[in-house]
Amino acid sequence: TPSCEPATPLCCRRDHYVDFQELGWRDWILQPEGYRLNYCSGQCPPHLAGSPGIAASFHSAVFSLLKANNPWPLGTSCCVPTARRPLSLLYLDRDGNVVKTDVPDMVVEACGCS
């Protein structure tokens, strides 16, 4: 998936890095220092509908069912995450305990048109 460039109107991954210092959370989140909050945005013209990806395959299945019953698909193709990964966090809870956990599906790795 291309990262979004100003001139790119098509579906792409918009990269953002959030430092926990910016949130004022460095006192309770010990590791990491920050994380990538990426999200998907951009146009999905019909010829890109169903472009590769997890969500696309799901939506393709739905669309093929809809086509079977209607001449025209009811919805439009959306720019959605097609691959995500967990984020490992080490943080202090309210009792001062150290907690290490993996939060699933936190970082968007790739985008595609549903």
Partner: protein, 215 residues
């Protein structure tokens, strides 16, 4: 959100960089809190000293990996009485493991001072608790300590069932294995940078776990 758009992520008027950054930071807070099933960021009243934290984390780095969606918790002991002179102490832990998790691994990390005069038998009890009433104790484990330094003492996770209050008290009773000598004071370092801590591992309960099976 573009009003009326069938695909909100398909575009709309571009946000000004500052507005987008403010939105991203707001989303980040929301995403992290939701991911950790918290309603707000924790307010730390007694954060552990950095040196204590670093020591404990160093000990854990060599531990096994936490399973998917599981948690690994370090809880530092709060000393509730000053009977360290007799090497017997009551350690109090404040735990807030999620109700949806069950505990499957527990170890008590203790640092024995160099003044250890000989092999030591350490019996660990769970102290008090809801059903057993105040002052009652349940035997958990017995370990023999022969050398100074850090020791990781395995505890039966079934004996550490979660209390409503989240408070867990462990009673340590020490006795020397050899001879009738009285136990030297200050055997266990229960305060300062090498205070004891519990290392716990939890994982989400399976759906239907704990529900009685009908035969």
């Amino acid at each position: 959100q573009v009003a009326g758009s069938a695909c909100p992520s398909c575009g709309g008027p571009a946000l000004a960089p500052q507005a987008e950054r403010a939105l991203v930071l707001k989303l980040a807070k929301q995403q992290i809190l939701e991911g950790l099933q918290l309603t707000s960021r924790p307010r730390l009243t007694h954060p552990p000293p950095k040196a204590v934290l670093t020591r404990a984390l160093r000990r854990l780095q060599r531990g096994r990996v936490v399973p998917a969606n599981g948690e690994q918790v370090i809880s530092f002991a709060v000393l509730t009485d000053s009977s360290t002179a007799t090497c017997s102490s009551t350690l109090t832990f404040h735990l807030s493991t999620p109700r949806s998790h069950h505990l499957y691994h527990a170890r008590l990390w203790l640092h024995v001072l160099p003044t250890l005069p000989g092999p030591l038998s350490l019996r660990i009890f769970r102290w008090g608790g809801r059903r057993r009433g105040r002052g009652s104790r349940v035997f958990l484990a017995e370990h023999q300590l022969t050398t100074p330094g850090w020791h990781a003492l395995t505890l039966p996770s079934s004996g550490l069932k979660r209390e409503e209050s989240g408070v867990l008290k462990l009673r340590l009773d020490c006795s020397l294995l050899e001879g009738n000598r009285t136990v030297a004071p200050q055997l266990l370092d229960t305060s300062g940078e090498q205070r004891p801590f519990l290392e716990l591992k939890t994982q989400p309960k399976l759906p239907g776990a704990g529900r009685a099976r009908r035969r």
